[in-house]
Subunit: 223 residues, 4 copies
Amino acid sequence: MNRTAAEPAAIALPRKASREHRRQQLIDATIESLARRGYAQTTMTDVAVTAGVSHGLVNFHFDTKEKLLTETLLYLAEEYRDNWLAALAAAPADPAAQLDALIVADFNERICTPSKLVAWCAFWAEAQSRPIYQEKCGANDLAYIRNLEEICARLVAAGNYRHSPQRVARVLRVTAEGTWLDLLSMIEPYSRDEALRTVYACAAAFFPDHFDEAGLRKPSVDN
Amino acid sequence: MNRTAAEPAAIALPRKASREHRRQQLIDATIESLARRGYAQTTMTDVAVTAGVSHGLVNFHFDTKEKLLTETLLYLAEEYRDNWLAALAAAPADPAAQLDALIVADFNERICTPSKLVAWCAFWAEAQSRPIYQEKCGANDLAYIRNLEEICARLVAAGNYRHSPQRVARVLRVTAEGTWLDLLSMIEPYSRDEALRTVYACAAAFFPDHFDEAGLRKPSVDN
Amino acid sequence: MNRTAAEPAAIALPRKASREHRRQQLIDATIESLARRGYAQTTMTDVAVTAGVSHGLVNFHFDTKEKLLTETLLYLAEEYRDNWLAALAAAPADPAAQLDALIVADFNERICTPSKLVAWCAFWAEAQSRPIYQEKCGANDLAYIRNLEEICARLVAAGNYRHSPQRVARVLRVTAEGTWLDLLSMIEPYSRDEALRTVYACAAAFFPDHFDEAGLRKPSVDN
Amino acid sequence: MNRTAAEPAAIALPRKASREHRRQQLIDATIESLARRGYAQTTMTDVAVTAGVSHGLVNFHFDTKEKLLTETLLYLAEEYRDNWLAALAAAPADPAAQLDALIVADFNERICTPSKLVAWCAFWAEAQSRPIYQEKCGANDLAYIRNLEEICARLVAAGNYRHSPQRVARVLRVTAEGTWLDLLSMIEPYSRDEALRTVYACAAAFFPDHFDEAGLRKPSVDN
DNA sequence: GATGAATGAGCCTTCATTCAT
DNA sequence: GATGAATGAAGGCTCATTCAT
C-alpha cells in the first residue's frame, strides 16, 4: 500500500483514528470510481479495489452501498461548506472581498478537481440522491445563498447599482455552477484559472467598480 | 421536430411510419424513466412499461440498452440543435435580436422540461456517455459557441463595450446551463420565466443598451 | 432433390412442388447452420437468413423448431439409407462387391460433405435427438448392420477366414464412423479418397484375398 | 502449482485447496449435465443444481459459461492424455505390449464412462469448441498419433507385415473412436469389455502374430 | 479487523412463437 | 404464401449482501 503519508504514524493511531482513516480512504475511492466509471457502473468491488482492500471490508465499514454513497455525498457537501465558510472567515469584512473570497473558494484546488466535479454531477443526476441531499444539505445551500445575497445587497447599495441583489446573486451562483459543468463536458477543458476569470468577468459586469476580469480591483475604495 | 410528414394520414399509419413512431415512443419513455428513476435505476423493463409495450420490443427496436441510451442522447442533442437553429433563423438579423433568440430558445417549453433537464444531467454524469456525446455532437456544440461568440463580438463592437467576446459568450452560456442545473436541484424550482429573467439579467449586465431584466429592450437603437 | 435441375421448370410447378422445394431449402439451410454455428447456436432466424427468407416463414413450414430439427435429422437418415440401398442394388451380387459398394457409399460426395458430417455429430451429441433417432431410424440402422453382417458372413465362409462375422462387421462399421469423426476433428482433414483407403486397409486386413488398400481386388476369383 | 503443500493436513482443507476442489466439483457437474441434457440444454443453473450449489457460485469460479465449458473440455483432454501416458509408461517396452496398453487405456473405466463419452461428442459437434480444442490440445493428439505410428512401425517391421504403419495406426485409432461413438448411439450399448474385444479384433487382423480377439497373445514371440 | 467464498435477486439479452397485415 | 412487429419465457451475468474463517 503506497498511500503513504499517514503510514509512519500508523502504529500510534488508536483504533478510532484508524477507523476514520479507513472510512475516508473508502470515500475517496468512491469519488474516484464515480468519476471514472459513473454512478451506474460503480460497484462495491470497484471501490474496494480502488482503495486496495478486500471487497468485504467496504460492507464492514458502511453496511450498505446506499450508505456508502450517502456518506460520500455528505462528505462532499461538508467539504464544500467548510471551504466557503473558511474562505469567508479569512477574508476582510468588506463585501467585495467577501464576494471575491466566495468566488475563489469555488475554484479551490481541493474542491474543484475533475473527479469531484464528476461525482457531484453524478449525484445531481441520480433521482434517489436528490431528496437525501435536500434533507441533509439543503440548509447549507440556503445559508450559502443568503450569504451571497447579503453580500450582493451590500455591494449594490454601496455602488449605486440598480440590480436586484437576489438575481445578481443567482447569476453569480449559476455562473460558477455552469462553469463547473463546462469544465467537465468540454473536450479540451480549460484551466481552473481560466474558469475563475470567467466568473470574474461576470462579477465585473455587475460590479465594474469592484471587479475586473482579473479579479478584485486592488484600489478598492469603498466599504 | 420534423417527424411530422406522416401526420396528415394519421389514422392509417403504414408499417414504416409505425416503426419510426415506435422508436420515438420508446425514446420518450426512456427520457421519462431517466428523469423519474435516474440513469442507474433505468431498466429496459421500466422503459417498456412506461411506453406500454413488452420489454422484448425494446430490444427488437434498439438491440441493446446501450444503443437505446445513445439514441436517446442523440435525439436530445438533435432536438436541442434544431431548436436554436430554428430560433436563429426566425429572428431578425441584428445581434441583439439574435442573442435574444438564443436565450429564449434555451427556455423553450419543449426543450426545458423537467424530464429533459434531468435526462441531460444523467448523461453528463455518466462516464461512458461523454465520449459518445463528444464524438457525435461535439460539432454541434462548437457551432453553437461560434455563433454565440460571433453575436457577442458584434454587440461588443456596436456598443463600444470593452469585454472579451469569447468570455462574455462563455458567461452567457454557462449562466444558461447553470440555470438549468438550478432548476432541477432547487427544492422549490422557480418558473421557466424566472429562469429566463435570470439570464436576461446577465445579458443586461454586459449589454445594458440592448437588454434589461425583462429581455430585449424594445426601442432597440441599432439595426 | 438436386436443387438445380428443377429450376427451369419452376414456373410450371404447382403449389405442392413449390412447397416441397421450400421445405428442402430450409432443411439445407438448417444443415448448413448446424455445421457453421453448432446445435446450440442454431436459431430459427439463422436458418431463415441462410435460406434467404423471412424468419416467419420457417414457422409457417415447420411449426416449431423441434420439428424442423427432427425433419432435418430424418432427411439425413433417409438420404443415408437411400444411398446405401441404391449402392447395394447397383452392385454385383457377390459379397466382396457388395461390401465394396457399402464402403464406397459411405464416402459418396453427396453423403460425406463437411456440413453433413458436423450435422450428424451435432445430433449424436444432443440428448434429446437420440431417442427420436432411435425410434424413427433405429430400424434402418439395424437393417444396415444385418446386411453388413450377412455380407461378412459370406466372405468369411468363402475365404476360410476364422473371424466372427459380427465382430468384423462391427469393426468395419465403426472404422467408417470413426473416419467420419476424424475428418471433422483433424486440423488438416485428409481427402475423401484417403478416408476411403483407410477403410479399405481395414477390409484388406480382414479379407486380404478380396481387398487391398486400393479397394476391391480386380481378379476376384470366388463368389 | 503450489496447491499441494497443504495436502498433508487433508482434513482441515484451507481455503486454497477448497477452491480447487470446488472447481473440480463444478467441472464434474458440467460433464454430467452435458451427458444428461446435451450441450444446447446445459444451463448454468443446471450445473449449479447438479453440484448442489447456487448458480452465482459457478460464475464466481468460472466467470462465464464459455469459460466453464472450455475448462471442462481441457480437463477431459488432460485426463485423457494423462491416462494414455501413464499406460504407456507402465507397459513393457515391446511394441505389442505398448499397443495393448494404448488400447486398454482407451476403455479404462475412468475414461470410458457414458457421461464422458457424450461430453466428448458434444464438444466435437460444437462449432465453437473445435478451434479451442485444436489450439490447446492439438499437440496432445499429435503426440498420441506419433506414438501410435511408431509402435505400429515397429510391429510391422518385427512381423514382416506389409501394411503402411501410418494407415494401420489410423485404422486402429478410428476404430477406437468409432467404438466410442457406437457405445453411445446404440439402443442397447454393449459392455466396455465387448468394445475392447472389437478393437482387439482389428489389431488381430493387422498383427495376427501378436494379437487375437482376446487381446495380446500371451506367448509373445518378439522382444 | 479483514478476507473471500457463497447466495440470490434482478437485470439484459436471446429467441421461439404468435399474429396482424 | 410471406413478412416482420410483438410477446414472454428463460438463460447468462452482475453485484449487493451475508457469513464462516
